[in-house]
Amino acid sequence: MTIYLYAIATLLLLSILAGLIRVLRGPRPAERMMAAQLFGTAAVAILLILSRIMDSPALLDVAVVFALLAAVTLVAFVVLASRKVS
């Protein structure tokens, strides 16, 4: 089961790395931001899997923090950008 979970975590990490192409290519800032948001969700999934592999419930707290603060950067982006183009 552990090998299996590691394989899934590796797969999720690879999907983040593939998504980086969108960040590098853009072209719109909104899309780069969106990709970062997507990776936040993937990181939470990896953390959930790691918490099972490493048998450490403290990792769930890290995931809670990620989940709660996931929108902060995005809100900052939207607010600052709307002051610019309004």
Partner: protein, 326 residues
Amino acid sequence: MTDAATLFDLLLAGSVIALAIASLTVRDMFAAIVLFVIFGLLSALAWVRLSAPDVALAEAAIGTGVTGALLLKTLHHLRYVTGKLGEGQARDLTPIATVPAGVIWANAAFCGMITLGLALAFLGAPQAGPGFDSLVAEAMPASGVDHPVTAVLLNFRAYDTLMEVVVLLAAVIAVWQIERGLSDAPAPALGEVWQGFARLTLPAIVVVGTYLLWKGSEAPGGAFQGGAVLAAVGLLLLLSRIYVPRPAHRGLARWAFVLGTGAFAGVALLVSGGGRVAFEYPAQHAYSLILLIEGLVTISIAVTLAALFHGREPVAAPAPEGRNDT
């Protein structure tokens, strides 16, 4: 099993380094910021793999809650200064004055010296030494708390932690020196979905921040993590203009900045004397004193980090047409 773990760790380490290089070298500044945010995300995972959930928590809170928003605001200021506010022009954003080559080389030399020093210290350290694990484990009963990291930070090594709090204080003093006054930006039209989100999430963030502080005495968590999480609430309030700072609030904010440092240093001095040195808490009060310090330091950290974000924003030239999609 080890192979699967090694593969995952190698991939993670490789991605962290690749992201660091990418965010330094990419030409588009906005992309650099996004890459840096993702770098923070993956380094939090790396700290998890290094069995350092305390650091992972701090990185998660600071990286996702504070750094991204601060960098985006900096970019916003830069665009205002250079007069390039259009979305499409972000790519060819250049600083107004080029940095002199001398400064660049001096910086490079300093960075090189620091790297060299770290490398020498690393190579000179005893290989596979016992570390401090046994020392800390031995002294734990006298520390007043049950979590080794908190014991080290707030008790055994409290001087260092006090200095870290002072660093934050110095940062906010520097930022407030160059601030241009209070923000007069209009409240952004974020819509009803955002309002529902704020009503639901902001209280939850406050609860989780306090929980992390409270839990710090027995498990990963503590003042820095709790403070950074609470600071995110401040950022969201400031961004959405739910809270609008007034000149009269300045005094209060300044008291909040020094509260943590003052309480920390105050307790350190008060417990000294009578044969004890500074930071040598009396054993029966150690837990309450550490909790008191952590609580006040949390408030200071939260207000300080949020205050770094406050300040007037450059206002764009009036747009030709009003916003009509609300």
